[in-house]
Amino acid sequence: MKEYEMIVIGGGAAGLSAAIEAKRHGVNVLLIDSNDKAGGQLVKQTHKFFGAKMHRAGTRGFNICKELLKESEDLGVEVLLNGLVMGIYDGDTVAVDVKVSLTEHKLMMLKAKNIVISTGASENAVRFEGWTLPGVMGAGAAQTMVNYRHVLPGKKMLMIGSGNVGLIVSYQLMQAGVEIKGIVEALPKITGWQVHASKLTREGIHIYTGYTIKKAHGTDRVTGATIAKVNPDWSLVSGSEIEVDCDFICIGAGLKPLTGLAHMAGCELIYDKALGGWAPAHNYNMETTKKGIYVAGDATGLEEASTAIEEGTIAGAAIAEATGHLSAAEAEERKAGAWRRLADLRDGFHGEERLAAKNKQLAEYDRLMGVRE
C-alpha cells in the first residue's frame, strides 16, 4: 500500500492551502480531489473578495484559484484527480474510487499518518409542493452551470433565500442573461450583505421579505411558482399569493459541513447553527479529537474561502511540524500568523457569531480531550 506523510481530501481553498503549506516545508503530500480539476468552489466564483489585501481582497475567486493551483504546481504537489474517497479506516487508511475513464473505475488504498479532511459543504434542500421537479436546484449548482460549465439552467429564475449565496448567484445569473423574477426571503429582512442586495435592487429586482414559496408548478418540469406571505408562526397568509412566471427555481437556503468522513473516522462533532450545524471539534493545530486527522475550511464550519485558506495553512504547518520538517518554533510562527489573519477575518459585525462558534469548537476539543488550561 502506497504511503504518504500526509493526505489531503478535497482540493478546494482549504485543501490546496494545506497541501501548499506542507509541501513548502518538504512534506510528502498527496492531494485527492473528486473533480477533474482542483479548486473547489473557487473555480466558479466570479465575484471579488472583500477585506484586506493580505486576504486577497479585490481578487476574483477564480483568479485566487489560479494562484493557488499555480503555487501547488510550482511546488510539485502530487494531485490525484477524479478520486472519490469512500472512507477512512483505522485512522490512517483511505479508500479511493478513481475514475479512469467514463466506464472504468479502480480502487486504490492509500496510507498516511496525517490526513486533512477539507471536503467543504453541501447545499441544504427546502421542501415545498413540487420541490422534486426538474428545474428546482441548489443555487450553487446553478452557479456551477453558468460560471464554470457555461450552460444556462433556464431563462427565468426565482431565488429562494436572500443570504449571500442567493444574492450573489442571482446577480451572476442576471449577468449571464437570465431574467430574475424575484428573490424570496421568509425572514422579515434580507439575510445577506447589503452591498450584494443593493446591486440587485438597483437593477429593479424585487426581494420579497416575509415571503416563502408555496408551490412549484409543472408536471415534468418547472413552469412557474406561487409565493405567499408568511405569518409569524410560519403559516401562510391566505390571499397573499403571487404567481411567478419562471422556468427554474434556485434554493439558497444555506449549506452544511460535509462531515461524513470525519464522523466515520471517529472525530467528535459539535453542533452550532452559526457554522451550519454539526462540525468536528479541533485544536489550535486544526487536529480533531482523532489523532492525525485534521480538518480545514467549510468541512469544519461554514465560513469563507479566505478563512478556509488560513485554516488549511495552519493544518499544513502543524503537519510539517508533526513530521519533523519544521521545528516547533518555526511552525509556531506560521500558525500564529495564520491565526492572526483569521482573527482579522472574523472581526466585526459579520464575524462575531462565527468567531464565538469557532472558539467553542476549540474549547469543546479541550473539554473532550481532558486538556487543562
Binding site: 473505475h105 480502487l107 420541490w131 464522523h263 450545524g277
Partner: protein, 94 residues
C-alpha cells in the same frame, strides 16, 4: 429557513418517503434520525441522506419540540458516495 410540512410531500427522494410517513414513524416512537431511518428507509437510498437528513431533523424538531442538537444524525458508512460493485469487489490498484 422555516418550512411547512404537508403529509403528502416527499422528504426522501431516493426512497420516496413522505412527510406523513415520517410523522407516523415519530408517532410510533421514533425520536431521532436513525429511528426514522430504520422505520421508513428515509436516508437509505443513493444519496445516503445527504439531502433529506436536514429535512428529517426539521420534522423531528417540529413534532417533538427537540432542540437542533438532539435530533441525531445518520451513521456514516462506506461508501461515502455511490460507487460501483466493480470498484468495491475489484482488485486493489497498487
Amino acid at each position: 429557513m422555516a418550512e411547512r410540512f404537508d403529509d403528502d410531500m416527499l422528504v426522501c427522494r431516493c426512497e420516496e418517503v413522505t412527510v406523513g410517513q415520517v410523522r407516523e414513524a415519530i408517532r410510533r416512537g421514533a425520536c431521532d434520525v436513525t429511528d426514522v431511518k430504520l422505520r421508513t428507509r428515509a436516508g437509505m437510498g443513493l444519496c445516503q441522506g445527504r439531502t433529506c437528513e436536514a429535512l428529517v431533523q426539521a420534522i423531528l424538531r417540529q413534532e417533538l419540540g427537540l432542540p437542533a442538537d438532539k435530533t441525531g444524525y445518520s451513521t456514516p458508512r462506506t461508501p461515502q458516495r455511490p460507487v460501483s460493485f466493480g470498484t468495491l469487489g475489484g482488485d486493489i490498484d497498487e
